[in-house]
């Protein structure tokens, strides 16, 4: 039941995308998001679509995995589409009762829905093809210049990787405690809201206790191995750009340039 959470889920496969440096994938995700909001006109969206489909195909991750992430934002997408559809002023197309659908509204609604879908799919490709550890490593390295102005980049990266690491552990723990209490006749499904919240106590108390216990144990284990922050710490597998990463950057900038060119010269339908 709880295993269905896909947040930050990694899909192991042997593909070009998987092997790219996490920094490339981080910047690619960011540039892709920016490009989506620079998009104007069919041509630019076509470029974005081609780019996305190529990357998904290259990643060898089954498409249904990406779609799983979309389920979470269906409501948000519908709301945005509906608001755009009815509340954009402009040339009226259809009108009934107090509602008016304008040409601009229809266009906005469609583009917004496409944008949101691509945004989720694009970031899903990144999280599905990069291990959580790879992501935090990449983030740490990319942000390391901020160290100079006093931002504790290493600490933030460490907190992030521990948090990510603990998500599946805590989900498993929740599952286990839930089952143990169900074996003792606990009921987590029926009853009104207050009853349900009260029924959660036998789950939440042991969960908190175990979370604190695990945190304690982890801190102890880190200290026992002489962990004392990022100062002078080296990596077993330091991130280094390779030829394929440079090529990926080139393709990425090529794509971004294409979107900008399309926006300037082919902004139809504006």
């Amino acid at each position: 039941m709880l295993r269905d959470i896909t947040l930050g889920q990694y899909y192991p496969a042997d593909s070009v995308i998987h092997k790219l440096d996490p920094r490339v994938k981080l910047s690619a995700a960011m540039i892709y998001i920016i490009s989506l909001f620079c998009c104007k006109g069919i041509a630019a969206f076509f470029a974005a679509t081609v780019f996305l489909i190529t990357v998904i195909k290259l990643s060898k991750v089954p498409f249904q995995f990406m779609v799983k992430g979309l389920k979470a934002i269906v409501v948000l997408m519908l709301l945005t589409a509906v608001f755009n559809l009815f509340l954009t002023p402009g040339k009226p197309l259809v009108s009934f009762l107090i509602f008016t659908i304008t040409e601009e509204g229809l266009k906005n609604a469609v583009f917004m829905a496409v944008r949101l879908t691509y945004l989720i799919l694009g970031t899903s490709v990144m999280t599905l093809t990069t291990t959580p550890n790879g992501l935090t490593d990449g983030l740490e390295k990319s942000l390391s210049p901020l160290n100079k102005i006093g931002v504790p980049v290493h600490v933030i990266a460490m907190i992030m990787s521990i948090a990510l690491r603990f998500i599946p552990i805590l989900i498993e723990e929740t599952d286990k405690i839930m089952k143990a209490q169900m074996a003792r006749g606990a009921d987590f499904e029926t009853g009104n809201l207050i009853r349900k919240v009260k029924n959660m106590i036998p789950l939440l108390v042991p969960l908190f206790v175990s979370a604190f216990r695990r945190a304690d144990e982890l801190a102890m284990a880190m200290e026992a191995r002489c962990y004392n922050g990022g100062e002078g710490r080296t990596k077993m597998k330091p991130l280094r750009y390779q030829a394929k990463d440079r090529i990926a950057y080139l393709i990425l900038f090529g794509y971004f340039a294409a979107v900008i060119v399309c926006r300037i010269f082919l902004p139809w339908p504006a």
Binding site: Q64, I177, K179, A180, A183, R184, A186, D187, P206
Partner: protein
């Protein structure tokens, strides 16, 4: 009256990258009043199997019958099943949550719909049977030692008076004294109350000493299902799947090889002792 498993299959994470077949084609009949041991290597499917027995996990395919009723029937009451099949999980002390030990043990009986008085009575009885000193009844469960916590958690299931008691590695992480105490307690329950006990373990010594039937699991399948003596006769095959026979079995085989006519089927220290004594006496006479 029994639990029957008919061609039970279970697949973890179906349709994901991590799909694994945890159980394949399990056919078992667990008769009333038996003391059964389930052994198997880590990941052999034993924990998955026992969670099927009280309906916490639904089989991907196959059927389970409790006293002749299909537990996956629409109108079958799973909560009633869980009242009658008590399951003590691995490290059960992690499920304690109440402010006092006594209240925690009352949780199960209260969920069964018993009155406060009745639930309290059950709790007293269960706590006494696991040998908890009365002075601790109103302390926080989080202040107890590991062994005491475990006993409290076991009492929490016993207080529901199940007909079938399943224990998943009840002695994991306990010292030898604590281990013997828990196992002796379980054996005594089995004798006094005549309940079916299913003990999951990977300690052959524990299993050989107490149970009358052993089910060996390997890679989601039942490898052997027989009396301990019969199962440990296959000690070489057991080794090949990462298990082993009790140490005395090895000793007896070794002695036999060196020309001493001992009983190689001895699985407990006591049996080995008697067999050795017999042979040595004969030798002297």
């Amino acid at each position: 009256m029994s639990i029957i498993l008919d061609k039970v299959n279970y697949v973890y994470g179906e349709g994901t990258a991590y799909q694994t077949q945890a159980l394949s084609d399990i056919n078992l009949e667990l008769k009333d009043g038996q003391f059964i041991g389930i052994i198997g290597h880590t990941g052999s499917g034993k924990s998955t199997l026992i969670q099927h027995l009280n309906g916490l996990i639904k089989a991907t395919s196959g059927a389970i019958y409790f006293n002749g009723q299909d537990i996956y029937d629409e109108d079958f009451d799973l909560r009633e099943l869980r009242n009658r099949v008590g399951l003590v999980f691995q490290y059960p002390e992690h499920q304690l949550f109440e402010t006092t030990i006594f209240d925690d043990v009352c949780f199960g009986p209260k969920n069964q719909g018993l009155s406060k008085g009745e639930a309290g009575l059950r709790a007293f009885e269960a706590l006494r049977s696991v040998g908890m000193p009365e002075s601790l009844y109103y302390q926080s469960p989080f202040d107890l030692s590991g062994g005491q916590k475990r006993r409290t958690a076991i009492a929490g299931v016993l207080a529901m008076k199940p007909e079938v008691l399943i224990l998943d590695e009840p002695t994991a992480g306990l010292d030898p004294a604590g281990r013997d105490e828990i196992l002796d307690l379980i054996a005594a329950m089995h004798k006094e109350r005549g309940m079916t006990v299913i003990l999951v373990s990977h300690s052959m010594e524990d299993v050989a000493k107490y149970v009358e039937r052993i089910i060996v699991m390997n890679q989601g399948r039942v490898m052997y299902d027989d009396a301990p003596k019969e199962v440990f006769r296959h000690y070489k095959e057991l080794e090949s799947v990462g298990l082993a026979a009790p140490q005395v079995t090895y000793l007896m085989h070794e002695l036999k090889e060196r020309g001493l006519n001992v009983n190689t089927e001895a699985t407990t220290v006591l049996e080995a002792y008697e067999s050795l004594l017999g042979v040595l006496r004969k030798g002297r006479a």
